[in-house]
């Protein structure tokens, strides 16, 4: 069983099915593709000349291939729990069911790192993925004049789609200093395709007259009821805002994208071990060469294991699919070694590019100094940073303790939006490492499920 129908999950399903494995692929969306291969809804059609990206076409071909291989696809199905090892609980259109999987490949993807700053809850402040989804799937602009703040190549991709749609971009604020790029030259040489893509975006942005501010972070979003603008300022190498000129921009939409966090709730629930990667500012599941987690029979691939880009996700899915087929005896030993070492070779090649990206856009924990005492930390329960700090003053040390005392993390998003930032707030207040503050204990259902669906579960 494969959970998640983005690049990694699709590739895993394709490879496993090609070798004769019976595959069930579940995804909570109404179409496969995930965020990267986001498809337009049925009934929409983009003429050839107006394509916004190649991704959705590539995705279409992969989806059709997977379906053609007889993979059992379950859409609008939320995998909300894992029980007794590898029994996955699903909620599909108002009904709940369980699937006992022999092998589980988790490809749950990632989401934009939530970063609290003053004004981040105002309507019109949206994530980079939220902006991409509106434009890619629905061809709707999130605003007429947009400020983009964050870090990483996605900012350029967002700017590209917004410009293509006719929006104006007030500015792009990249937290990384982007200095001494020449030192990456030799290491980027084998990856000119990626470099050219980035260069193309940068040129387009420059031609549109959009200011690109490296080494700048967002300080606050402005507006009474809804967003009307934003203030940005320079930051240091750790992304901590420093004194200096504050720049004020009018905007009816602020797009925020400070990198991604893996969706770890299912692997965490299953007991897969993780380690903290400071350079990514995120936890990463511990995996074998075959991409199996520390729980036998559960593989974790793609952005759900760390955020590596779609090219890596495809190879990882493929590699896990091979491993599963091999274990079921559907490949000869030699056939498996040959195919797997080819995939590993391609992953090694891609890792060279990834290391440059990780270094260039290295996560700066100073970002979590953007919030002030009054900033909302928990969007669901409406709890401010000051309440978390007060809990620490009263002796709380772990995110679960702060949760019990303040309700931070008890809301409907189940701590996805506040948990990572809360750990940083605790770390700052205690002076200890962020890992000591821990992570919220995952509990099923890991996503909201209607009680009626559970009642109609038949078990």
């Amino acid at each position: 069983m494969v959970v998640g129908g983005g690049p990694a999950g699709l590739a895993a399903a394709r490879t496993a099915a090609r070798h004769g494995v019976r595959v069930v692929l579940v995804d909570e969306n109404s179409e496969l593709g995930g965020q990267h291969y986001r498809q337009m809804p049925a009934g929409f059609r983009a003429p050839e000349r107006a394509r916004i990206g190649r991704e959705s076409d590539e995705g279409r071909r992969l989806i059709d291939e997977v379906r053609g291989l007889g993979v059992e696809v379950r859409l609008e199905s939320v995998a909300w729990g894992i029980f007794d090892g590898r029994v996955v609980a699903l909620a599909t259109s108002g009904e709940s069911s369980r699937i006992a999987a022999e092998t589980l490949i988790l490809a749950p993807g990632a989401y934009d790192r939530p970063v609290p700053f003053p004004g981040w809850t105002l309507p019109g402040v949206i994530t980079a993925s939220g902006a991409q989804n509106l434009v890619k799937a629905y061809r709707v602009l999130p605003g007429r004049r947009v400020l983009i703040a964050g870090s990483g190549p996605l900012l350029l991709a967002v700017a590209h789609s917004l410009l293509a749609g006719g929006a104006r971009i007030a500015a792009i604020c990249e937290a990384s200093p982007m200095r001494h790029l020449w030192r990456y030259g030799p290491r980027l040489l084998p990856h000119l395709n990626f470099v050219q893509q980035g260069h193309h975006y940068r040129r387009e942005i420059a031609e549109a007259g959009v200011p690109f501010l490296a080494g700048h972070v967002i300080r606050r979003a402005l507006g009474g009821a809804e967003v009307t603008g934003a203030v940005v300022s320079p930051c240091d190498g750790e992304w901590r805002p420093v004194g200096g000129t504050e720049l004020h921009y009018d905007a009816d939409c602020v797009v925020v994208g400070y990198g991604f966090l893996s969706s770890l709730e299912l692997s965490r629930l299953a007991g897969c071990e993780e380690r903290y990667a400071a350079g990514l500012g995120d936890y990463v599941p511990v995996r074998s060469r075959e991409l199996e987690s520390t729980v036998p029979g559960i593989f974790v691939v793609g952005a759900g294991a760390r955020v590596p880009g779609a090219a890596v996700a495809l190879e990882e899915g493929h590699l896990a699919g091979l491993a599963v087929a091999n274990r079921l005896g559907l490949l000869t030993g030699r056939g498996y070694s040959r195919e797997a070492s080819r995939a590993r070779g391609r992953l090694l090649h891609l890792a060279g590019f990834r290391r440059v990206m990780d270094d260039l856009y290295r996560f700066g924990a100073g970002l979590h100094a953007l919030a002030d005492d009054l900033t909302t930390l928990c969007r669901c329960e409406e709890v401010a940073v000051s309440e978390a700090v007060a809990a620490v003053r009263d002796g709380a040390r772990h995110v679960d303790e702060v949760k019990a005392w303040t309700r931070i993390g008890m809301g409907r998003c189940q701590g996805r939006m506040c948990g990572p930032a809360l750990a940083h707030v605790i770390a700052r207040a205690t002076g200890g490492p962020v890992t000591e503050a821990g992570v919220f204990t995952p509990r099923p259902p890991v996503k909201p499920v209607r009680l009626a669906a559970l009642a109609r579960g038949g078990d």
Binding site: Q35, P47, L122, S129, R139, R144, R379, E382, R416
Partner: protein, 105 residues
Amino acid sequence: MTHDDLRMAASVERGRALRIAVDGEELLAYEGESVAAALIASGRRSTRVTARAGERRGYFCGMGLCQDCLLTVDGLPNARACTTPIREGLTVETRRGLGDWDASR
């Protein structure tokens, strides 16, 4: 793009045009669109007012995770605007928490 619509004009053929009701007002939308896409396209950025502080909230993560774009769809509360598809005749009510929605409009 027309003056009062954030739909990109040139680059797409959309689905069938449908009518939905948003807080009693009729709104044109297209089959396949999410409720969030239809609302944002018409310049409606708020989906609800929070219970505690009475703040407006709207579309944030855009992928069904943050639970901030909740509203009432066909009388059923807690629907996510970003993942709920438009159907002909859908009624959408922006959600009121305990805050004073009418005063804040």
